[in-house]
């Protein structure tokens, strides 16, 4: 690790708010990665008449547990639960509802206010809000991660080629980016939604086509600057081919400005996905989505727990990301890094 990198890490760690945010966000994300074990409508482990069952992995018919129909077992059915209690035991996840479980055995009408059965209440279709938030958080972050990584690769490649080769390549590239960025993304998505059902990957693909635009200018400017640096010229004088010069000598310098931008790209991706879901042009119905939850909150003003949950989740998630982003930006900013490596002494 180069001394500069080490100093940057130290600077990031010295920023308490950014460090705590990073910890919190990572913890939340890792936790949400195990959503299936935390919120699910099937027991984790089940012992019935002396035999072990793993409902999470294997799909058992109801007849196994004393039911009458050879259909998938509904473990929330009071009759089945009774059977299990009499003949064995079950270990349930913390929240016994998955994001798509319709709670059929509830006595109150949906949306139901928070109580001991549904900690954050249910939405207007009778699904557990907390469970949907956990799964929705995971989906948003995963979407943003893939989108950010993809835009980073595309943006750095396109911007790098423009900046490094300059001249006609740059001119044509610049004009193309200008035209491309003029295309209305939202309309494209609406048109798309009219002939395919846009799933996770469809949305990702479409968004990817446009999200790299934000990076191109920065990367291009960095490459333009770096290609006239002395050591890049020295690398040319050693006969290094262009792609190696770009990869080894120009990119590492351009990455500083680029990486500072990444957290904000990430926040933007989450915001966009939420907005699309809110408008109904996003993920297919039934997907756990924070935008859809916000839309439900808007449509059910008499059920404030929907809107408040959506707002709080988004606010916490985006604030954490912005704090992390600020910390990164400061860590990469040379003026923020004090050099504690030099000491001048007398005698």
């Amino acid at each position: 690790m180069s001394p500069i990198t080490r100093r940057r890490i130290a600077a990031f760690r010295a920023n308490r708010r950014a460090r705590v945010s990073l910890w919190l966000f990572s913890a939340l994300f890792v936790f949400s990665l195990f959503a299936e074990l935390v919120a699910n409508d099937k027991p984790l482990i089940l012992k019935f008449e002396g035999e072990w069952y793993l409902p999470l992995v294997v799909d058992y018919p109801e007849t196994e547990f004393g039911g009458f129909l050879p259909t998938h077992t509904d473990y929330l059915d009071p009759f089945i639960q009774e059977q299990i209690e009499e003949n064995g035991w079950a270990l349930w996840p913390l929240i016994p509802f998955s994001y798509q479980t319709l709670d059929m055995h509830m006595t109150r009408p949906s949306p139901a206010a928070p109580d001991s059965r549904h900690w954050l209440g249910t939405d207007d279709q009778g699904r557990d809000v907390l469970s949907r938030v956990i799964y929705g958080f995971r989906l948003s972050v995963a979407f943003a991660l893939v989108l950010t990584a993809g835009s980073l690769v595309m943006g750095v490649f396109i911007g790098g080629v423009q900046g490094y080769f300059g001249g006609k390549v740059d001119l044509v590239g610049q004009r193309f980016t200008e035209i491309w960025s003029g295309l209305p993304v939202l309309f494209l998505l609406i048109i798309l939604a009219s002939f395919v059902q846009p799933g996770f990957w469809w949305l990702l693909g479409i968004m990817m086509l446009f999200s790299w635009l934000g990076l191109v200018d920065i990367v291009r400017a960095e490459f333009l600057r770096a290609r006239n640096l002395e050591y890049v010229r020295a690398a040319k004088a050693m006969g290094l081919p262009s792609h190696l010069i770009m990869w080894r000598h120009v990119l590492p310098n351009a990455m500083v400005a680029t990486l500072t931008f990444v957290p904000f790209l990430f926040t933007g991706a989450i915001g966009t996905l939420t907005a699309l879901d809110f408008l109904g042009f996003g993920l297919p119905p039934g997907s756990p989505s924070l935008g859809e939850l916000a839309a439900q909150g808007k449509n059910n003003l008499h059920a404030p727990w929907l809107g408040i949950t959506a707002f709080m989740t988004l606010a916490v998630m985006l604030s954490l990301l912005v704090f992390i982003g600020e910390g990164l930006r400061d860590a990469f900013d040379p003026r923020h890094v004090q050099s504690r490596h030099k000491e001048v002494t007398h005698g």
């Binding site: 180069s2 001394p3 500069i4 300059g166 001249g167 006239n228 640096l229 002395e230 050591y231 010229r233 020295a234 690398a235 040319k236 004088a237 050693m238 006969g239 290094l240 081919p241 262009s242 080894r248 000598h249 590492p252 310098n253 504690r340 490596h341 030099k342 000491e343 001048v344 002494t345 007398h346 005698g347």
Partner: protein, 311 residues
């Protein structure tokens, strides 16, 4: 010695390595080098001298296609029979770094601050000699020894910012001679070095030149170095060639007024002793120390690169 080589240079030999005729370089319309012609033969040193800004660096860079895109280079230039003016991008790669070594003028900025010294030397070895891993490291170490750098093993793992200007300049020279080029272009290669190291480096370059009959284009404005190390000299003034010829001839019987003025401007005699004056700046018992990586469970502390004792 200069006379001897000069005669060699004038012998009708066909071993011209670099031949440049009517070279002109302009930047966006303004002419910086005008109608410059010179040649370098195998085994000889041609010195390119002239005042600052006279176009020495630009000429050398222009010949090797290393100028930015806004430069217009015209004129004939050929390296060992290969026409350089019409060379394609891909063909340059076999020439640069391999047949031609280049030592840049700016030692402070010519090394990538993000790569360790060993890696940067290894890069050229891998590219042109396919040396990797241990072999490349071994060769890089030899090169550092050749340019008289102390503690080459530690230096291989040093970052450029940990080196002094003179140390960096020697690393650059090591990189330039790594592939035993036919032609070495050295743009003021010893400006950051003290006189003793300067003499050692120039002697090293002379040895290399004699052993491998390498041609050398030596750019400098130090006339003493020209006298001691060059066979022929080409004098430039404001982008134009003033005169060229064997060193002894140019120095003893300068043809152009500028050369005569240049020679006359060389300082002579001794400086007058300074009288009793108050000191303006005083330093007593000053010491500077750099924090170095601590020894840890899995790493031992590397030794400093300089010969001095660490505190």
């Amino acid at each position: 010695m200069a006379e001897h080589s000069a005669q060699q240079a004038f012998a009708p030999s066909s071993s011209t390595l670099l031949d440049v005729k009517h070279l002109s370089v302009g930047f966006d319309g303004s002419q910086v080098v005008d109608n410059l012609s010179f040649n370098v033969k195998a085994g000889e040193t041609l010195a390119l001298v002239g005042e600052s800004g006279s176009g020495k660096s630009v000429s050398a860079l222009g010949v090797m296609n290393l100028l930015p895109d806004n430069a217009q280079v015209s004129g004939e230039r050929s390296l060992a029979g290969t026409d350089l003016a019409s060379l394609k991008r891909s063909q340059w790669k076999t020439i640069l770094g391999n047949q031609v070594g280049f030592v840049f003028q700016e030692p402070m900025t010519s090394l990538n601050p993000l790569h360790r010294v060993g890696k940067q030397i290894g890069e050229t070895l891998r590219l042109h000699q396919s040396l990797t891993g241990k072999a490349a490291r071994q060769r890089a170490r030899e090169l550092l020894e050749q340019v008289r750098l102390p503690r080459p093993d530690e230096l291989l793992d040093a970052w450029p910012h940990q080196l002094s200007g003179g140390q960096r300049q020697r690393v650059m020279i090591a990189m330039a001679i790594a592939n035993q080029p036919k032609l070495l272009i050295a743009d003021e290669p010893t400006t950051a070095l003290d006189v003793t190291v300067q003499q050692e480096i120039l002697a090293l370059l002379r040895d290399l030149r004699d052993q491998h009959s390498m041609g050398m284009l030596f750019i400098t404005h130090d006339l003493n170095l020209v006298r001691a190390h060059a066979d022929r000299v080409c004098v430039m003034y404001q982008g134009q060639q003033q005169e060229s010829g064997p060193v002894s001839q140019v120095f003893n019987h300068p043809q152009s007024d500028y050369t005569a003025a240049l020679l006359a401007a060389e300082p002579q005699g001794r400086p007058k002793p300074v009288g009793r004056v108050q000191p303006r700046l005083e330093a007593t018992r000053l010491s500077v120390a750099f924090a170095r990586p601590r020894a840890g469970l899995f790493r031992r502390q590397p030794a400093p690169f300089c010969g001095r004792r660490a505190h």
